[in-house]
Amino acid sequence: MSVVQTKDLTKIYSSNGIETPALKEVSLDVQPGEFTALAGPSGSGKSTLLHLIGGLLLPTSGEIWIEDQKINDLNPDKLAELRLNRVGFVFQAYNLIPVLTARENTEFVMELQGLPENERKKQAMDVLNTLEMNDYADRMPNKLSGGQQQRVAVARAVAAQPALVLADEPTANLDSKNSEILMGLMRKLNQDRGTTFLFATHDPQILERVDRVVELHDGEISSDIKK
């Protein structure tokens, strides 16, 4: 069963009566354990596609399936539930909760899921350990570097073991060294835990490391290359 499947996915933004097509009949299939990048220049529609798959936007037409669940028809509460239980997010700007420590941020999604405290702590520390952040577990985000913050964001995304992690330009705010480290760690999570990653990026360092690159141009898939 595919982790993600889109069929003829179209998204048109409307503002002040002006319609701007962002995606045009995009069909995509992502299998479990894939390490895939959506590439393309700014405005090509990769972030829109990522947000549609994550249930943060609703499509104008077409279908989106996450595993066995068609998500087009879900109401906002059901979409939130889907994101909570099946999808992890990594954002460009880290977006950690500034009043929670690294460990508490990592526990956050599991807290929303209602996992018991000891189980949350254990899973959070396991993933922080994998991401080499265990020594920084009790630090607040403002006491961490950009690279460390993004590692915590990745920990938060994967700690609850979602079917899919969506990462929107995860290395855009990092220098090349930290980008390299982060990509290495995400690859490790992908290999060790079988976590499926889908990136939206134009960072060559990511594109080099992924197994598959889906290139978008003007809202359409222009190439789909598996390495």
């Binding site: 947000h51 994550g54 943060l56 936007l57 906002p76 509460d77 939130a80 539930e81 889907l82 994101r83 909570l84 239980n85 999808v87 997010f89 954002f91 977006n95 909760i97 500034p98 009043v99 929670l100 508490e104 526990e107 956050f108 999604v109 807290e111 929303l112 405290e117 938060r156």
Partner: protein, 415 residues
Amino acid sequence: MRLTLTLAWRNLMRNRRRSILTLVAVLFPVMLLDIMWGMSGAVQRNLFDNTTLLQTGHLQVHVAGYQELKSTLPIIQDVRPVLDAVENHPDIEWFTVRLELPALAAHENRSRGVLVQGVEANKAQDLNLIDEWIDEGRMFAVGDTKTAVAGTALLDHLGVSTGESLILLTSHPQTGTGVLVPEVIGKISPPSRELSRFIVQVPLADAQALVKNKNAATNVVILLKGVTGPWDKAIIDGVATRLQNLLGDEYIVETWEDISPETVGLFDLLTPLYMIFALIFFFLGGLVVLNTLYLSVLERTRELGVVLALGSSRNRVLGWIEVESVVLAGVGALVGSALGIGLVWWGSFGFNLPGNFEEITKAIGFNPTLHLRMTGVEAFTSAAMMFVIALLAAAYPGWKASRLEPIEAMRFTGN
């Protein structure tokens, strides 16, 4: 839950100054309402004391039919059965016999209608009130006869000085006329200026001589054990019923509320007044809480967008804002209650209002010393009301936060 509380507390600590100001805005209404309850209790107690100690007692015994003939001050021809009933009554702290007669007071070529009160000298002293009223001279003592103390305003009107005589001419439908010429040995200023214009107190035996009946009385005034204010209504009503049953149909037992309904009316007037003030305080407190939480939501728009994107339900976001409000309101209400209860406790020992207030309160017949009083229910009500209002105030920012669209919220820049 622990993480939720941690999140709420740390969010409030982000902008400490604003949170502290909000806390003050929450605690002040609670504290002020507690003080207001305390003041209300003090004013009610003063009104009650003024009415019961100076005029009505907690209970009065009159002759049957008194209510129909009230204006003529009907006389109990033989007060002894009443005294037998009250003398060793377990609920009665104090009692005194009074004989009140309408009279004409005259001196040289001036006269005025007055109320002659025959009082028991020893019992009057028990209350320790007359001493405070004496402007000049002294109160008559046990065994004094043909002496009187009278209101300073009355004596000034008649041109009578202490040591001079006053002619008192009584006329009563049950006993006919009588004349007494006592020596004025004291000038008094009762708290009520009006009373000062027509009160003349004489020894009870002299008043009884005026009606030619040494067992006559118009009323027996009773103070009960364990009564400190109008809030002890149940005690007063209970004893009134039992005493009425004991005395039978020849007499009527009235409570202070029956005798002085205007004082009860004043209480009824004060309560809504306090409520209006309380509502204003709480409304303002609620507005500050709303403002704080609204600004806090606005500042955290991006963060709330992330939380929603991660899969938090909208109700949960609303719950977080409510928890922050609960923390703010809870701490504020607790501190406000502690301060309010502390101040009311301090004020319960009695204090005088500063400056001209003392003179003003005296002028309107009030005891200037206030003893603050608040019940546990009142203290709880203050804190609970603020708590509920803070929760309501959080509803709008909470609702706004829960309605955010994740993508738009994460793009929010504050512009």
